[in-house]
């Protein structure tokens, strides 16, 4: 692609995301819906104006990594730890139930092949961190207790999703189930999530020391983005999703993350503030590209709208996908309404589901109709909860006394 063509594509993506996002906000609809719509309109579903090229995918990937960095930056690690057990329960049930339901629906109800049913279950497992975070931020609920729990659960979800993907991928290649490979990935990811924030914190200490002697402008944007991309690379290297690297770097730079025994200089409020000031414009520039990209990747034209199989299969899957995720929240000890809030926030699928669907299609595991049904399920399970959550908060906000 020619360089200038790419420039006009980025211009169109950024401006349409902005215009539709603002329009949505004006109509009291969460703005992320506008950005997703921009992608659907520009993409193969409608206008076919912009193809999700590799470069745009890359910028979108940077967008989601930076978004997770921002989430990490605003995360109170102590509170996250406290809600850790509950988050894990929500995450585990939120993965197992949709996976089991999805598999059973495919294998027993619709008599699909074994591997196809497994992949269909896999497509339903992972909650979209990006969309969940955006909904909660759009509703100014991202500092609430339930947001903390959902965030933790979504991160754990993503890890399990990636392990499941590796597992099913091995299976699809006829390699058989490699428990060793799967558990190896698991161990690597756990080590990464424990060590990465500490390592990032030490590096941040180096940046802060440099800050006082630096003689050329732009120290913070270049070094912090480097730090984030380095940990994204490292996450990928150990087999974890890249966005976890961004999250780890964000947690390390947050105001509430301290190393034991004063290993590194404590984050000064002034320095933390400067990081936020410098990083916000960069984060705001890249993240809309991610949400437009999710819309671009949904090819609604590929759906055979006349097939009754597509309609019935997607309707049944959607119900199981929703119930499966909400259920998870009911296995923890919490207020009744907060359980609902957590369950609803876990529903949106988005990017990881799409990766499963694309992989299954590319490997010939999904035929066109199964693929189409999964795309419908992902689209609806992404978009519908946004409205439901908004309605839920407007109706039951007073029942959710902050703790």
């Amino acid at each position: 692609m020619e360089v200038s063509t790419f420039f006009i594509h980025i211009t169109i993506i950024l401006l349409s995301a902005r215009i539709l996002g603002e329009m949505a906000a004006y109509l009291s609809i969460p703005s992320v819906i506008g950005e997703l719509m921009a992608g659907i309109i520009l993409g193969p579903s409608l206008l076919g104006l912009i193809e999700p090229s590799d470069v745009i995918k890359l910028l979108a990937e940077i967008g989601i990594i930076l978004l997770l960095f921002e989430v990490g930056l605003e995360t109170d690690i102590v509170r996250l730890m406290k809600t850790g057990v509950n988050s894990t329960v929500v995450a585990l049930f939120g993965v197992i139930a949709p996976f089991a339901f999805g598999f059973c629906v495919g294998y027993y109800l619709f008599a699909l092949p074994f591997l196809t049913s497994l992949f269909a279950g896999g497509t339903l497992t992972a909650t979209s961190i990006g969309i969940t975070v955006r909904i909660l931020t759009d509703l100014s609920k991202h500092h609430s207790r339930e947001a903390q729990m959902v965030l933790g659960a979504a991160v754990i979800d993503d890890i399990i999703g990636v392990i499941l993907l590796a597992f099913l991928y091995d299976l699809s290649l006829g390699k058989g189930v490699s428990l060793q490979h799967t558990s190896q990935i698991f161990v690597f990811i756990v080590i990464f999530m424990v060590l990465a924030p500490t390592a990032a914190k030490l590096m941040a200490g180096v940046i802060r020391r440099f800050d006082s002697v630096s003689q050329i402008p732009g120290l913070i944007p270049t070094t912090v983005v480097s730090l984030v991309l380095f940990f994204a690379w490292l996450a990928h290297a150990v087999g974890a999703p890249e966005l976890l690297g961004g999250f780890a770097a964000g947690i390390a730079l947050s105001r509430r993350f301290f190393l034991p025994m004063g290993l590194a200089v404590h984050a000064e409020p002034a320095f933390a503030h400067r990081i936020e000031e410098n990083m916000k414009p960069i984060i705001h520039l890249f993240t809309p590209i991610f949400f437009v990209m999710v819309g671009l990747s949904l090819n609604l034209k590929a759906v055979n709208w006349g097939s009754s199989f597509v309609w019935i299969f997607s309707a049944v899957l959607l119900i199981t996908a929703v119930i499966g995720k909400i259920m998870g929240a009911f296995f923890i000890k919490e207020d009744y309404y907060r359980k609902w809030a957590i369950g609803l926030c876990m529903i949106p699928r988005g990017e990881v589901g799409l990766i499963f669907a694309e992989l299954g299609k590319a490997a010939g595991i999904f035929n066109d109709d199964v693929y189409a049904a999964l795309v419908i399920v992902i689209a609806l399970s992404t978009v519908l909860p946004i409205f439901v959550i908004k309605w839920f908060y407007s109706r039951f906000e007073d029942k959710l006394g902050e703790v």
Copy 2:
């Protein structure tokens, strides 16, 4: 290339540019030298660690466009107009002399083919705006009278360079000299440079109006970057260098650019300040990639260091390249020392020269030795003036009374 490989490449580029840039500044060497060195070390010249891939080239291109945007933002259009005649004289002589000298050296002195000599002359024509601006900024001279004149001359230079490139390209394809094509490009570029800032100003007025009603964060980074990339695309569409689009957008958003008859809302200082606050981190993130890219593009390993032709040809060309550019400044009415300052600042070649050299090599117009000699000339004419200009200012600064 895999996404995560790209992440580690960007990390390496940003960090090495930062470290070598800071080291250079610490040793009182202009920091741009450090960034160019980072590219030479990482690239095919030395380590061969990073290939200048399409994606990195694209980010570098965004870097130079954003740098020109920043330059435009800080440009006083009234002063630029006042120095316009002088800038044009400097630019014209600074193109004609090196081109004529380069051609004569090649054709008469070294008996090279006609087309090869023309391309060799072309390689010497354009001053590198990016490097010139960086040197003057590193020395805190970017608001001086001579900087204004050099900037104007370098912009005009770039326009002439692109027209010359189009002209020679036609010639190399055996199409003969198309005066119509050449003059058409010229007219388009002039129209663009007159209309673009006005159009950009009107669009900026729209952004400002949106600013007060916008409900989602990130209005300025997304819309201003869109504006810049849109004008870069437009510049390319009319046949002008893309960075002129960034410059036009920057001028439009600068504090000193007003439309006649109050067509648009005047830029409020507060709004202009917010644009700078939001854009600086983004500009600082992308511009180092450009300077590292220039270093990456210089393959010093491709030089046949044992060939006496390479040494003699490049030495003679370098002398003509330096004299040709300095001469231009002596055709204007100015103080003696300021003439020298202007002449010296016009010497750095860099990116446009490299485009000529690459094109000539790809088209078979340059053999390996001629190409190598030109690479040496570009490298030395980029790096040496940086030291000379620094020395010049430290020695003669008091003679350059500000006007």
